[in-house]
């Protein structure tokens, strides 16, 4: 898991490794300083000449400058390394998701992917920065300080033997106790926030049913519960400061007491006042490093969860791969389903599609009708290999779709998805998704065919009209027609419309279909629709029911022999309307 993440350090390896080196320099100097200062103090105390004092002072001054340089450089490189590492993580995550198959996409909610690429990466970035700055520095600082303490203070350093194990044990116990409590609280906290979000989103329902007081009570209980747990967790951590202070005070008393005795009884020969002061400084440095280490420990444990969530995406293998020697051309637009069964995941109990045999000739127009959950969309998604069949094979132009290069395949099979989307950008930019190099004439032509040109031309900015995120500034029917135009620009061999004209009025719908027949006769057209009117004139109509093909035939044949088809037809034409309902299907 960590190995996978470590690969993302990439070009920032140098700054990553140099940071601890700078930190090392800073730590070494910081440990050297009290030593020299001790000498300085002793010199002052001994009443040496000013010259000597100034000399030591200059040395110290230079050391401080070097330390500043090291610390500054480390801060700089650490920032570079960690922000670069985070960038690479985001890039790899994003790239990995781009390589996902539909099956992979279904497994992660888009919200969870967004969180992984923002909050989780930021958590890891902060932890990474702390690690490269502190993971080497703190232990070294600790060791240096202990050595210097013993070197200078002799028996005085004995206090460290008592204080270090005490503080280590204390910090470990606190961290051990606090971590699980905090993890549990954070989970509860997340749930609390989820329930607030739920409440905000459901405000009309809450107010409609006059449930304000009920919601307040519910929330009050949950908030109290969080308060209790949070207080408990924070009260465990609250012992950190007193623990630290106990050690500091112990050092102080011990060093003052034993130190003064040592100085006096040896008449200053084995220990000077300077050393006494230096060893106090080392004591503080030791405690600080320990504190830092315990913070690092906590930080690493907290970010471990983020690391896991990031690695989960990075390690996700795409369920679809390009074949080894892909076929690069598609002969024609004929589509054959041969003994196809499909289920969405290996563990699913039910097959979403069962025993599908269906042959569609190149250039044919095929309609598909069926209720919600009859797997109409699933069927057509197998053609451009959005999913792979579980059993049997799907053929395009006489060859198994798994033999084609994915890009070639998907450029030949244009699907207008039911849950379609326009992206922020101009209309023209959106349409060019179908063909990067499309000329303005081609774009216009596709739009005419999709009956979109007129309304686009009526916009003040025409094809340069900005589409807002989610395509909210065009109506549902307009959006669908733009999506069809976008697909047409691919000049596909097979064009699939998955309920793509549901918000388009029947007249325009008919015009679109007539245009298809007239201008792209050699393209195979597969149309999934709710309205009988949309498929009535197809060469053949497939009636789906519960993942199986219930019947295939022309409109007239089906009216005669298919109960389901007739039922839908009658329901839509009840009351004498000529063209069935103009119903909207909103999803």
């Amino acid at each position: 898991m960590l190995k996978r993440l470590a690969r993302c350090i990439g070009e920032y390896r140098l700054v990553t490794f140099i940071t601890p080196v700078f930190m090392l320099g800073e730590a070494a100097i910081e440990c050297l300083m009290p030593f020299i200062i001790a000498n300085l103090i002793n010199e002052i105390n001994a009443g040496c000449e000013m010259e000597k004092i100034v000399k030591n002072g200059i040395v110290l001054f230079c050391l401080a400058l070097v330390s500043m340089a090291c610390g500054g450089a480390a801060g700089f490189t650490a920032a570079r390394a960690s922000s670069g590492f985070a960038k690479n993580l985001r890039r790899d995550l994003f790239a990995r998701v781009q390589d996902f198959s539909f099956e992979n996409i279904d497994r992660f909610s888009s919200a969870s992917l967004v969180t992984r690429m923002t909050t989780d990466v930021t958590n890891v970035q902060m932890a990474f920065m702390m690690i490269i700055r502190g993971a080497i520095r703190s232990p070294l600082m600790l060791i240096f300080s202990v050595i210097m303490g013993f070197y200078m203070g002799g028996p005085l350093a004995g206090t460290f033997v008592v204080v270090i194990p005490f503080l280590v044990a204390g910090l470990l116990i606190i961290a051990k106790l606090a971590m699980p409590t905090f993890r549990a609280v954070f989970r509860k906290y997340d749930r609390l926030n989820e329930s607030i979000e739920e409440n905000v989103m459901a405000m009309r329902t809450v107010k409609g049913f006059v449930r304000e007081e009920y919601e307040k009570r519910k929330f009050g209980t949950a908030a109290e519960d969080i308060r209790r747990d949070f207080t408990r967790a924070e009260q465990i951590v609250a012992w950190n400061n007193p623990l630290m202070q106990i050690c500091l005070y112990f050092n102080m008393v011990f060093i003052m007491l034993v130190g003064s005795r040592l100085i006096i009884s040896s008449t200053g020969s084995s220990l000077g006042v300077g050393q006494l002061s230096a060893i106090l400084t080392y004591g503080v440095q030791i405690l600080m490093s320990l504190m830092m280490l315990s913070m690092l420990y906590v930080m690493i444990t907290i970010s471990a969860e983020s690391v896991r969530r990031i690695a989960e995406v990075l390690d996700e293998e795409s369920a679809l791969t390009n074949p080894e020697n892909p076929v690069m051309t598609v002969k024609d637009g004929s589509v054959d389903f041969e003994g196809v069964s499909f289920k969405y995941s290996a563990s699913a109990e039910r097959y979403a599609l069962e025993n599908i045999d269906l042959h569609i000739g190149s250039g044919e127009t095929v309609g598909i009708i069926g209720g919600t959950g009859s797997s109409k969309s699933t069927l057509i998604q197998l053609i451009p290999r959005l999913y792979d069949t579980t059993v049997g094979s799907v053929k395009l132009g006489g060859r198994d779709v798994r033999e084609y290069d994915l890009t070639v395949l998907r450029d030949s099979v244009a699907v207008v998805l039911q849950k379609n989307m326009l992206f922020s950008g101009t209309i023209r930019e959106n349409l060019r998704w179908g063909n990067k190099n499309a000329t303005d004439e081609e774009i216009e032509e596709a739009c005419r065919l999709a009956q979109a040109h007129d309304f686009v031309a009526s916009f003040p900015d025409g094809y340069d009209t900005m589409i807002e995120q989610g395509g909210t500034n065009v109506s549902g029917g307009q959006k669908q027609r733009l999506c069809i135009a976008r697909a047409l620009l691919k000049k596909p061999k097979v064009l699939i419309l998955d309920d793509s004209t549901s918000a388009v009025d029947t007249k325009t719908d008919a015009l679109i279909r007539r245009g298809f027949a007239e201008y792209i006769p050699e393209t195979t057209k597969i149309i999934i629709a709710q309205r009988i009117a949309s498929v009535e004139q197809a060469d053949k109509i497939v009636v789906m029911d519960n993942g199986r093909i219930a019947d295939v035939g022309t409109h007239d044949e089906l009216i005669r022999r298919s109960d389901i088809y007739r039922e839908v037809y009658e329901q839509q034409t009840r009351g004498g309307g000529q063209n069935g309902e103009s119903g909207e299907h909103q999803d």
Binding site: D99, I196, W239
Partner: protein, 635 residues
């Protein structure tokens, strides 16, 4: 997390005062106790210098003779006092830290509850004009920054402030010259941290903005990931993201580079200061220059050594203070936003007509009763002290209603609708024609600008909102489900409904069939707004919820839009029996849903342009006819 809209630059004045007043108001005993504790323990942690000075002076006195016993007699009492102070300070500190944790969490809990409770009372308008994500960030980001403020920054300011004050007094007590030197150093530190801190804050804001941009892009692409794949646009998406990612990386780098460098720079200014104190102190000592101090003590090694330590402590705490600035500014901005939510005007309710249970006597007279009788009446107290009871029937009349959301753009004009008890009234029209607005006015999510709405003959402005809404059942297009079981979600309609009643309602709504096929049936846990259910299934649950509430008037706003026509036909029998005997308002795109209504209103730009039964409207060959034949496109 990174929402540029949320970054307000300057919090309003008085935020910190209000926050403190609330804090001390909620914890009138504990909060002051914490303050006293912090004051004492901080003071204690800054006095060792005094003892150090005394002890070193004693050492100096006896070091020549090496007479430890005599020295001990002088040192021991000092150490004893120090130990007593230390023990006291540690005990106080422990108590203090425990109380602080309690106070912080208690305060946050109170804030959360206050916010949430207040939010429940806000009008729908508030939720229409504030995005859910922005509201959520009050509860997450802003509360988090307040936590930081209360549990870390404020105590730290107090602590550092006390230490700085104490140390400063001790320094002046011993030596004015050296104190002056240290103060000069501090000025340098403040200047540097202003420069660096300013840069850091600027780039942190930029980082937040570019994070927001990157997040927005990721969100859009992840939502449309399938479309991206269908069009083989993966590489373009990667390239686009790379640009945003680069920008974010640069801003993040700069922000952290400034922040990371500040520490070592300030720290080493401290070191330089330390050295200067030693040199200047040494020079003063050697030159025998006169001291300038409160204590009047001459400069000696026993003053210089503690001074060195004090220099460290002093600069360290100035550094601590400077590091709190960022989180204080952020905490105040957070508190400011939280206060802005709390200060929002709650929904007003001047209604005094209430809905009560009644017993109907044989002679037709009505008597109010506390028990659940199933008979309801509007209790209408009059100015002259009398009270009348009007039986709840479900007669809704809108007369010449005008309405505008913003006071500028007229959404409804002269809308008149009579719905008699048991009638089914449908609204048809393009998106934005004002269909949903009409229902929003009936349940008083919004108040009308002009005209009248009467419920059972009573002006709805006189009816208590809670009771008005209790008498109306709404099923919305977007079903909101709550975390909990399916059964609990249905029971949301009427909290005291039994399991059997809920299941009965589900059967009526045609939801029973799919619910029983769920893994745990009615006990299936729904999470994430029922993400595991299809839109159609969610709508069926919402209908069941309305059915269990059993209101005389039902509003169905696109309630069956996601149920396919075939399923709709299957559930329509249940729907019909649900609608029977109730006044029903139906809004639907799909004309098959509204065909059998008693009256259909065709709305266009806020006006009713056609009204009548299906057959009548078809015969009129107007807009409805065109819609019906598919010659018109809705939306």
């Amino acid at each position: 997390m990174a929402n540029p809209a949320n970054i307000r630059t300057k919090p309003r004045k008085g935020v910190i005062g209000r926050l403190l007043r609330m804090l001390f108001g909620y914890f009138p005993v504990l909060a002051p106790v914490t303050v006293v504790g912090i004051l004492f323990s901080s003071a204690v942690s800054s006095i060792p210098a005094l003892f150090q000075q005394r002890i070193i002076a004693i050492i100096e006195k006896w070091v020549e003779s090496g007479d430890w016993l005599s020295a001990k007699a002088e040192i021991m009492p000092l150490i004893a006092i120090l130990i007593v102070l230390y023990v006291l300070s540690i005990l106080l500190m422990i108590a203090d830290q425990l109380i602080l944790a309690y106070v912080t969490q208690g305060f946050l809990c109170k804030m959360r509850k206050t916010m949430f409770d207040h939010m429940q009372d806000l009008p729908i308008r508030y939720f229409d004009t504030h995005r859910a994500g922005d509201i959520m960030s009050y509860y997450t980001n802003d509360i988090d920054t307040m936590r930081q403020l209360v549990s870390q920054s404020l105590p730290q300011i107090l602590r550092s402030g006390v230490i700085i004050a104490t140390v400063l007094s001790i320094m002046i007590w011993y030596c004015g010259w050296l104190t002056l030197l240290i103060l000069l150093g501090v000025v340098a530190m403040v200047l540097v941290s202003k420069k660096f801190g300013g840069g850091s804050a600027k780039f942190f804001r930029r980082q937040q903005q570019s994070m927001g941009k990157a997040e927005g892009y990721v969100q859009e692409i992840m939502n449309g990931q399938k479309v991206v794949k269908v069009f083989c646009r993966e590489e373009e998406a990667k390239a686009d993201f790379e640009r945003l990612n680069e920008a974010l990386c640069e801003d993040s780098f700069k922000a952290h580079a400034y922040a990371n460098t500040l520490g070592p720079v300030i720290g080493n200014i401290g070191n330089v200061l330390y050295v200067l104190v030693a040199i200047v102190g040494g020079a003063l000592l050697l030159s025998g220059a006169p001291n300038f101090s409160l204590s009047g003590l001459p400069i000696s090694i026993s003053i210089i050594v503690p001074f060195l330590n004090m220099a460290k402590q002093f600069t360290g705490n100035v550094n601590n203070l400077s590091q709190q600035i960022n989180s204080i500014v952020m905490g105040m901005a957070g508190a400011d936003r939280v206060f802005s939510l709390i200060d929002e005007e709650p929904e007003k309710d001047e209604g005094y007509v209430t809905l009560v249970n009644t017993k109907v006597h044989d002679d037709g007279s009505i008597e109010e009763t506390a028990e659940h009788t199933g008979h309801w009446a509007w209790k209408h107290p009059h100015g002259d002290g009398t009270t009348t009871y009007t039986p709840l029937a479900g007669d809704v009349r809108l007369t010449d209603v005008d309405f505008s959301y913003d006071g500028e753009k007229q959404v409804l004009t002269d809308v008149t609708v009579y719905a008699e008890p048991g009638q089914k009234v449908a609204f048809v029209g393009a998106t934005g024609a004002g269909k949903t607005t009409i229902t929003n006015l009936i349940n008083r999510f919004y108040d009308i600008a002009d005209g009248k709405i009467r419920y059972d003959g009573i002006n709805i402005n006189k009816i208590k909102k809670a009771d008005l809404r209790r008498s109306l059942g709404i099923v919305l297009q977007d079903t909101s489900l709550f975390s909990g079981t399916v059964l609990e979600n249905i029971r949301y309609g009427r909290l005291d409904a039994t399991d059997e009643e809920c299941m009965e309602a589900a059967k009526l709504a045609g939801a029973d069939d799919f619910i029983t096929r769920l893994p745990e049936g009615y006990s299936t846990e729904l999470t994430n707004n029922g993400a595991n259910l299809s839109q159609g299934q969610r709508q069926l649950i919402a209908i069941a919820r309305a059915a269990v509430a059993d209101p005389p008037v039902l509003i169905m706003d696109e309630a069956t839009s996601s149920i396919d026509t075939r399923t709709e036909a299957i559930v329509s029998r249940g729907m019909d029996s649900l609608m029977e005997g109730r006044t029903v308002f139906v809004i639907a795109h799909r004309l098959s849903t509204v065909m059998n209504s008693d009256v259909i209103m065709v709305l266009d730009h806020g006006r009713i342009i056609e009204r009548g039964s299906h057959d009548k409207l078809i015969a009129e060959r107007g807009t409805y006819y065109q819609l019906y034949t598919g010659a018109f496109e809705l939306e």
